[in-house]
Every structure is written in C-alpha cells, then in structure tokens.
C-alpha cells in the first residue's frame, strides 16, 4: 500500500516532448511508473520512446484509463493545462511547474476542489510511492520501500532526509511534496489524514518550513492521529520579511515563525528534529522497526 499513487496508477505527462518533460518521462519509466501517454498539442499520433503522444488530455482519456497527470508546462500555460486535466476527469494532477502566478494557482486549486481532483503542487518535486510509482522529478536511486511516510514543502531537503533514512535502512511508503508556493493543492492535514489511514505507513515525517500556518493546522490534526509524527522545520535562522527561495517561506506580520510551528507541533506530540540527520533516530524512538 501507499497513498495517492501505487503500482496500478496510469500516468500521463503533459508537456512530454519538451526538454524537461522528455527527461523526466524517461526517468519515471525507468523507475517503473506506468506512464501511458504524453500530451503535446500538434504532436498527437507520434511516439516518444514507444510512448503514445496525444494532442489533448481528452484524447488520452478516450483511449485508455488515466489516473494521474504530471505537468511540465511553462508557468504562463500551466493553468490551462491543469484545467484540461481536471476537466477531463484525471483525479490526481501533479504540477511540477514553478513560478505560476498566484491567481492562477487559486483557480487551479478551486477548480480541482469543485471536481474532486487531488492537486499536488504547484512547485513540487511530486510524489513517490517507493518501489511502485514515481510521478515527478526526484532522483530514482534514493527511495526504498518501507514504513515511513514523508510529506514536505521542499524538495532537496526531502531528498536529504530520505537519503538519511535510506542510509539508516529505513524505507519510505510514500514521499509527497506539497509544493513551495503560497497556494498549493494539498495541505499537511490532507496528507496526514491519508497516511494515518494507510496500513503500510507506521510513522510520518513532516518536513515543514517557515511561513503560512499549515504546520500549525497540522498540529491540531496530529493530536488525533494514531501514528507518530517526526517533524523538521526549516528556516529557524531566517529573518522576517524575506522570502527564502519559496514564495510560501516568508515570515510576514509576525506569523508563520519557526518558534510558533515547533511549539504547536511539540504540543501535539510530534518529535522535533533540530537537524535533518536526527530524523532516523527519532523515527527509531517512535516505532519498532524490527
């Protein structure tokens, strides 16, 4: 088991014939993801390494079952492509694209809600259900199957933590990137709910950062969770009012501080890793890995 995607997930790639799209489509196929088509307007009927290319998402959906779409679409056109996937009935839409305007992001997320679609991102590395399916851009080699679910706002920091876990022999059920922007489709709470229900996941690592109040909201949920949570929050040293790379990672008007988030998480019963490499040992404290 895993959350959101697994070995039966049929994936299409929107923007499969662009540079980034082509590279990561090959990587996903190499990982074992069931990529069943690429979308590239005007190139319908062509093939990419044996992969069928369609002009539109509807054309792909008419042809076969599509469970998820991965978007490598330049920011100015990402809203349209996301709407296309949502409208066509694709139930998981992973928006890798960064720099999408906020008002477009709000429209994507609200349209998805109306249609009951799960949006991952924008500005995310995607999602990996270890050993089963990868929809997104993380390097293939770090992930091993195991009992720890990971949900994060940031990419390489997640790889860092996954690397530490894997090096310690602790595998991951699903690793999910919510995205670094101020408006993204899923929240920590959404992910924690799914992990709490997933029989294969025994503990969850929450990789948060300063800005917003997602971590605080997550804390309320963690109180009710059956499974232990280990959290690491980045941005302790960041000065207020500065965006630390991510649009969402900014302390504004005294809100979204490191201290506030850590306090809320601690009170909710989460273990806090002061440094990333402490995560594996905290996991071992909370669950029996034998």
């Amino acid at each position: 088991m895993a959350i959101i995607i697994d070995e039966n997930t049929n994936v299409i790639v929107q923007g499969a014939t662009g540079n980034q799209g082509k590279f990561h489509t090959r990587q996903m196929l190499a990982y074992g993801t069931k990529v069943v088509g690429g979308i590239s307007p005007g190139k319908g009927g062509q093939e990419l390494d044996g992969l069928k290319i369609y002009d539109t998402v509807s054309a792909a959906v008419e042809d076969q079952r599509v469970d998820a779409s991965c978007l490598f679409i330049p920011a100015p056109f990402a809203r349209d492509a996301a709407f296309e996937a949502i409208e066509a009935g694709v139930k998981v839409v992973v928006v890798i694209t960064e720099h999408i305007p906020l008002h477009d992001e709000m429209e994507i997320v609200n349209f998805a809600r109306q249609k009951g679609t799960t949006v991952i991102g924008p500005n995310t590395f995607g999602i990996v259900s270890s050993g089963k399916c990868k929809v997104g851009i993380p390097p293939n080699q770090f992930f091993i199957p195991g009992p720890v679910g990971i949900v994060a706002r940031s990419g390489t920091l997640t790889y860092e933590i996954v690397g530490n876990l894997t090096a310690s022999g602790i595998g991951q059920s699903t690793v999910l990137g919510l995205g670094g922007d101020r408006v993204v489709g899923m929240s920590f709470v959404d992910a924690l709910e799914k992990f709490d229900k997933d029989p294969y996941t025994k503990a969850v690592v929450l990789v948060g950062e300063i800005g917003g109040n997602q971590e605080e909201e997550a804390s309320e949920f963690i109180k009710k969770m059956a499974k232990p949570v280990v959290a690491y929050i980045a941005g302790k040293s960041a000065p207020p009012g500065k965006r630390m790379g991510h649009a969402g990672a900014i302390i504004e008007r005294g809100k979204g501080t490191f201290e506030g988030k850590v306090k809320a998480l601690k009170e909710a019963g989460a273990s806090i890793a002061a440094l990333p490499f402490e995560v594996p040992s905290l996991i071992r404290e909370r669950i029996d890995l034998a």
Binding site: L102, N110, E160, G180, S237, M244, R253, G254, L275, F277
Partner: protein
Amino acid sequence: MKLFEYMGKDLFSRYGVDVPRGRMVSTPEEAVSAAKEIGGEVVVKSQILSGKRGKGGGILFASTPKQAGEAASKILGGTVQGLVVESVLVEEKIKIDKELYLAITIDGSAKKPVLIASASGGMDIEEVPEENIVKYHIDVFHGLQAYAAREISRRMGLAGGIGKEFNRLLLLLYKVFKEKEAELVEINPLVISGDRLIAADAKVTIDDEALFRQKDVPHVEERTEAEQKAHAIGLSYVQLDGNIAVMANGAGITMGTLDIIQHYGGKAANFLDAGGGTGKEGTAMALEILLSRKPRVILINIFGGITRCDDVANALVQVKNERDIPVPVIIRLVGTNEELGVKILQENGFEAYKMMHEAAAKAVELAR
C-alpha cells in the same frame, strides 16, 4: 513586488477610488510648489517600501508651502525605518471623522482571496482584536459581488451614504486586486471625511510571478544589486549579514544549511539557492556573487540527484583554475556520481564532506 504609496494611490484613483489630491516630488522646491497648487494644509509623506513611517519621522504636516518645503528637506535624503527617502508625496490634509481598515489579500489556507475590514483603522491590523475584524472569503471564480459588499458593510455597521460609498469601494478594490493580480491591496487608514470615503494610504503588492503579463504596472526594484544580479541568472539569492557565504541546491536545503550554521554559532552571509543550475557558468557567477560580499569562508552544500556530483566538482575546479578564490571553500557533496565528484575535488585541493552538519560545523570554525 511592492508599490510605493503614490503608485498605489495612482492605481486606486484610476479605478475610481477617492484619494487625497497630491503630487509626488523629489526636491524641497517642488514640494513648495506642490503645496501651493494643492492649497491649505498639506501632509508631506516619505515614499519608502515600509510601514510605520509616522513613528519613524517620515510623515510631517505643513500649514504653508514654505513649511512644506522645510518638511521635505528634512525628510528627503534621510532615512526612515532604515530606508533612504528619495521622494515625498505632498498631499491635501484631509479632515478625519473616523478611520477604518480595509484590505484584500490571499489566504493560503483557504486558497482564496480574503477581504479584511475593521472599524479600527489607522493601527496595525495585527493589533486589532479578532472580534473587531470582519473577514470575508471571496470565490475566486465569481469574485466579490454586490450582495457580498452589502453584507460586509452591514457587519461593519456602515449604513446610509457612507455605507453605499463603502459598498462601491469594496467592488473597486477587488477589481484592482484581481486585474492587477495583487497579493495585497491595503488601505490603512481608510478615512471617513464628511460624506467622502478617502484612501489616506495605499499598500499594493503585485504577485512577482504575474509581472510578465502585468505590463502597465510600474516597476519597483526592492532587491539589492547583488540580489538583482542573482535573479537575472535565475538564482534565488537573499543578502544576510553574516560572514559565511552559502550556496546549496534547493530552497529547503539552503534554509536548512543556514539553520545548521546558526545551530553551531555561525552566521550566514546570504541565502543562495542555485536550484538545478550548477553548471560551470552558473557556478562561476554564483561564486562571484558570494565573493562580492567578502565572506570569511564559502560553504557549498550539494545533494546531487538529477545534478551529477562530478559535474559540480568539475565546474568548481574550472572556476578555481580561472580565478582567485581568496577564502576557504568547504564542500558537502553527495548523491549521483558522488565518488567520482569527491575524487575530483580532493585532487584539486578542495575539502569534501559527506554530512551537511559536519561541513557546516567546519565552516563555522573557519569563520571565527
């Protein structure tokens, strides 16, 4: 991208929002003539991208044009809230019957625009008790509608002519917010002055990511020169005030690196997320930016995924061969082709680490 007050007011005014009559000037002489033109008492307001100007001496009143010139010369060229004042706005002084607060911003949790209003204006909204604040979430597809404006006015206790003015203003402000793709439009204070409702201040932040299609919004540069340079080549760079220059690949891991430096008692000179672009040219430019701040040590933290460690190592070596690097460079390099990368580094006199906290600890030690 934040707009200066005078730009925000100009924008509001073009949408039909009532703002004080005024003129932006950059010399005391111009302030005198602006005050003459406006007539009566005026306010001289420093134009900086920060609030709390009143407390910082950035807002002065003047009864005569001469006084307005004096006020301007007091403010111009000086600093308010740590920022240099290059221009002032000379405005009619308006009669204040009551001050309100009004803003529209984006609620990241609700994933919707939210309108925030309060009958307690003039102060920071954070200081207003929650029960005195009216919050209204706006449907992103339907926008703010007339009925919603009436409901907000009702909750604000505004009736009669001012109530109608307020309704009208709400719709206009949402129009600005939506059409200009703002992250924030704020009027504080919004002044009731007789039967007029006047935007006495204007804070507007346009979404940076939307600027490519917001062509008629004036350009405001808030970044430092180094930040601009980094931005131009696609690096995410924020200047800080420590002595350990940092470069990493990814926003989260860069933040994490900064935190570890602080954890060991050091201070970072910057945030620099090189993203995936750590090829030779990118690396060279990034290093140049880092060195321009004259750090004691450079800490590079690369977790190679798609990025190959040998590529990073080769880029560093090439840069080192081409230019002088006057400070020690501490490198943490793991991931794809790690062994090869580390070998290249070591052969060329770089110190390579496996764990990021060890590299950070070493950098802090060297920076002392």
